[in-house]
Symmetry: C3
Subunit: 153 residues, 3 copies
C-alpha cells in the first residue's frame, strides 16, 4: 500500500508544510537524510495548544500536540522528497516537551508522535527518540519535534 | 586489542541493551551511522539514581549516572553492529543533565560518559558533545544521553 | 566570491577555534558531515555575556551571543575542512537559549546565528534549526549552539 493511501485510510490530510518561524528553512536534505527544523503544533496556521504540559495543557492534549507536530513534520518530508514512498525509514524523533515543574510524562506525550509514524509507516516508522522536558519554548508551544528520515537514493 | 578485551581489562560487563521506555526503538542504523535513543542510567532494570543533579543527586553521582548511560549506549551499539571492533569512531554525545536551579556543572557530569568512551576506544572514542541543563526529565532520571557512532561499512 | 573574501567584506575575522571545555573534541567529520560540539559565546578567551536571556542578558545581547557562537562554530568548521569553500551547505543549527522564566524569544535570539550563516554563505547558508529554552547552562552562558555542515567529498 502506498503511504498516501495509508494516510487516506487513517483519515489524515497533510497540511501545507508550515513555513519556518524565522530566518532558516523547514527541511534540508543531506545525502540520504532529510532533517526537519523543530516543528510546532500548528493547525490551520495557529498553534492548536499553548502552555506547559502538566499545567495549562493536559498530558492527553500534549499527546495530541505531539501528533500534530508529527503530521507537520511529515508534510515537510513530503515537500523534501515529493513522493512519500521514497521514505526508507523514519530514523529519529527529537522531542522536547514544554514541561510544568514536576511533570515527567514526556514519553507518553511524545508517543503521540511516535505512534503516528508507526501507524503510517509500519516497520519503516520505527525510530530512535529523545524526550526532554524544557522550561521555555518559542511561542509558548507545548511541544517541539524534529524528525530525521532516511530516503531512498 | 579488541574492544571486548579492553572492556574486560576495565572490568566492564555490558548489560543487556535496555529496552525503549515507549513506542520507539533503542537504536537505528542509517548509512554508516548508528544512533541510540536517549539512554537513562538503568542498572539491573532500575534507575541507579533519581532526581536533579545539584539537589537530590550530587555532582559526583551525576557523573556516575552519565557513565551508566554511556555503558547502556554501548550495549545498544553492540546490539546494532554485533562486533564492537566495527566501531570506527564515537561521533557525538548529546548530553542532558536534569539540573537543580543554579547548577552549572553539566560538563563535569558528562565527563563521566566522555571518559568512558575515551577509556574504551582511545582515539576512536573522541567525540563531539552537547551539554544542556534541563528542568524536567522522564522518570526523574538525572541524565539522558544519546550517542552517535560511525561504523565501518 | 570565496568565503574568506566574503568574511573580509563583512569585517569578520575568525578566531582561533575554541578548545573544548572538557574531555571531548570541538568538531568531528563523519562521511560528508562536519558536526561541532556545543559552542559557547567565547570572545578572546572569555564569555562575552553571562546569564539568562530575559533576565541578566537582553534579547538583543542574546542575539549577539548567538552570533559569536556561530562565528566560533565557523572557526571549528574551518579547522575541520581547511578551506571554507569546501562547505557545500550549512545543514543544521541546534540552538539552546538559557532562558529566564517566561522568556519566549528564542527564535529572535537565534536569528543572530542564522543570519550570520545566511550573510556569509548565501543559499549555501540556509539551514534547519531547533530553538529551545533551557533552564541551566554550562558556565552560565546565555546560548549554546551546535552546527552541522555538509562538505564536498
Amino acid at each position: 500500500m502506498s503511504i498516501e493511501t495509508r494516510l487516506a485510510e487513517l483519515g489524515i490530510t497533510l497540511p501545507e508544510a508550515p513555513a519556518a518561524v524565522a530566518s532558516y528553512v523547514p527541511w534540508i536534505r543531506t545525502g540520504n537524510l532529510v532533517m526537519t527544523s523543530g516543528q510546532l503544533p500548528f493547525r490551520n496556521g495557529k498553534l492548536a495548544f499553548e502552555g506547559k504540559v502538566g499545567a495549562e495543557v493536559s498530558e492527553e492534549d500534549g499527546g495530541e500536540a505531539a501528533r500534530i507536530c508529527a503530521i507537520n513534520a511529515l508534510a515537510q518530508i513530503k515537500a523534501a522528497v515529493g513522493d512519500l514512498d521514497k521514505v526508507a525509514q523514519i530514523v529519529r524523533l527529537e522531542g522536547n516537551v514544554h514541561s510544568a515543574p514536576g511533570f515527567q510524562g514526556q514519553p507518553k506525550v511524545l508517543n503521540g508522535a511516535s505512534e503516528f509514524f508507526n501507524e503510517v509507516f509500519g516497520n519503516r516508522g520505527l525510530h530512535t527518540r529523545t524526550a526532554l522536558g524544557i522550561s521555555e519554548m518559542p511561542l509558548n508551544a507545548p511541544v517541539q519535534l524534529s524528525v530525521f528520515a532516511e530516503v531512498a537514493s
